[in-house]
Symmetry: C2
Subunit: 335 residues, 2 copies
């Protein structure tokens, strides 16, 4: 309310009758055995009185670290990634880190020049496997990188945090088999990605030797694409599949709409399963049987690993995050 200019540590020093260095020590929290309790409180009082906030830019310049990490995800409008962000941001905040999002191409961001437009220098990077294309021409300047849901073997990441989607697929397959399904179509994501490749392999493995017939159809990442693909499958000549196993909830909802349009009852005539357990999954009728992916947990563990690397260079071992099948109303024994 007095000066418009923000007070500096030097102002605080003058106010408290000490040197600027002392202010820095006290505010930096590392004054144990360096500054007496009496002086420390005096400094803090002065800082409060002036409303002092350290200048982040100056601190960053001096220390070479920014306490900021970059999170790369394909699109926040996908609730999975919004949740992932939420978990990551919470952990980051607990450790005094800020999170900036890479403005992905899908969101209309710049297709290239990643760090040119980055709002600040970065200490580290947390990246989803779905953003692999972005990462390819990404000059990370040798900063620590933690990958989420990506091939542990094939990356320059310090470590990885992966959902155990193979187990998820196994659970879905077991569920459908137990219900008696023998003609299953996999409505798969039509995109190159480690996580989807793993799902396909796991599904094939789970059905191996059970006598179940597996077919695969690919669809783009939208509800409409899922609906169209499902319609094609359900209209095809020959025996209809009794279950549609979808790579993610949005596809499953599209399939649900397709079934309805064709006059098929779900789950009586056709079982449908999803993957993600978004809000969407329990909004539709019938509610989707799906695999719950704890996105927040992935974000939390990934950020925890990254923070750990940044703090003491200690590299966590690749972590797996458990998933669980949620059985709801979209699956039942075949007619």
């Amino acid at each position: 309310m007095t000066d418009k200019a923000r007070p500096t540590s030097r102002d605080v020093a003058r106010e408290a009758g000490v040197s600027q260095a002392t202010v820095s020590l006290v505010c930096g929290g590392k004054w144990h055995g360096r500054v007496s309790e009496r002086i420390a409180t005096a400094v803090r009082d002065a800082a409060d009185a002036l409303g002092y906030r350290p200048n982040l830019a100056a601190r960053n310049l001096r220390t070479g670290r920014t306490k900021t990490v970059l999170l790369i995800v394909p699109a926040l409008t996908n609730q999975y990634y919004a949740r992932l962000y939420t978990g990551a941001a919470r952990v980051a905040a607990q450790h005094g880190f800020g999170v900036v999002l890479y403005p992905s191409p899908a969101d209309g961001g710049p297709a290239r020049n990643p760090f040119g437009s980055a709002p600040a220098s970065l200490d580290g990077v947390l990246a989803s496997s779905m953003a692999a294309d972005v990462l390819a021409d990404f000059d990370d300047g040798g900063r620590p990188l933690v990958m989420l849901d990506s091939d542990p073997a094939h990356s320059r990441a310090a470590t990885t945090v992966n959902l155990d989607v193979a187990d998820g697929m196994h659970q879905v397959a077991e569920h459908l088999l137990a219900l008696g399904h023998r003609r299953i179509t996999h409505l798969a994501a039509g995109v190159e990605s480690w996580t989807f490749a793993v799902r396909s392999r796991a599904l094939a493995a789970a059905l191996e030797g059970t006598g179940a017939e597996l077919r695969t159809v690919r669809a783009a990442l939208t509800m409409d694409a899922g609906q169209r693909a499902a319609e094609r499958v359900l209209r095809a000549p020959g025996p209809r599949p009794t279950a549609l196993l979808c790579d993610f909830d949005v596809l499953a909802v599209g399939a649900l709409k397709a079934a309805r349009r064709l006059g098929l009852r779900v789950p009586a005539d056709l079982s449908i399963t999803g993957f993600d357990d978004l809000t969407l999954a329990s909004a539709v009728e019938p509610e989707l049987t799906t695999v719950r992916l704890p996105a927040e947990e992935v974000g939390r563990q990934g950020m925890a690993a990254l923070v750990s690397v940044l703090a003491d260079g200690r590299v966590d071992r690749p972590a797996d995050v458990a998933v669980s099948l949620v059985v709801r109303g979209s699956t039942a024994p075949p007619a």
Copy 2:
């Protein structure tokens, strides 16, 4: 590939055989009439050769500006805000600004000390009205502030960008009236907020003198809350409303589930309308008649206004963003 340390402008200067000042001028883009074309290209070549990137921290320190703005929204897991972010981030990127998100309490962020944990100093703030509680004890240090969907009269914002929700409510009301509905219940958001207050007033005004009976019930911001509130309404003694007008899609989906559970057909026995037009709205059966809120556009215009203020101090006039009714399958004439 040579030194691990990042090259500085001084390194580039040495490489190009010029002074550091010249490098700064060239890279800063303001060398017209100051540096010859020949030298400029030499500098750029040297910069490219070394892989030079300006140190943001140093630049921020020097200029006092960070090219970073803060976006405050309640929760990114709400698709409306994810879309808003997307629009805002795109415009910001076009102007060379980065966007950081305020880790909101709803996401588990720190309840207070906003700037203490902020990842960087900020040039300006873009805030949703729903985040008013956060904003209350927000030391913005006198930075430019643009508010979204908030009372234009009652804030210290430079300007505001508001959805024309009053018009949206009018359109919904007209639609229901035209279908013949006369007993309408407003399933309202149980939260203090300018945008919801406007909606309630607009609805009351639209039904004024039409002979239609309006009742209001409040619910929290979740699907479950919407379902419970709708069940109460639909189970209440006396004549049942023929239409449920909901303040946002998630509530409407809850209402849809309630209707289904009570054996009511939508829209034959009960019409339901939403507000937002999220992915959700066209995922459910029947698809929701709702008001499409162009969240990206709000983000874009809000960010554009903020950038404009930051660039030349020119304050835009408060802007209104048009909304439109989307008629789908959840409304029909009453039985």
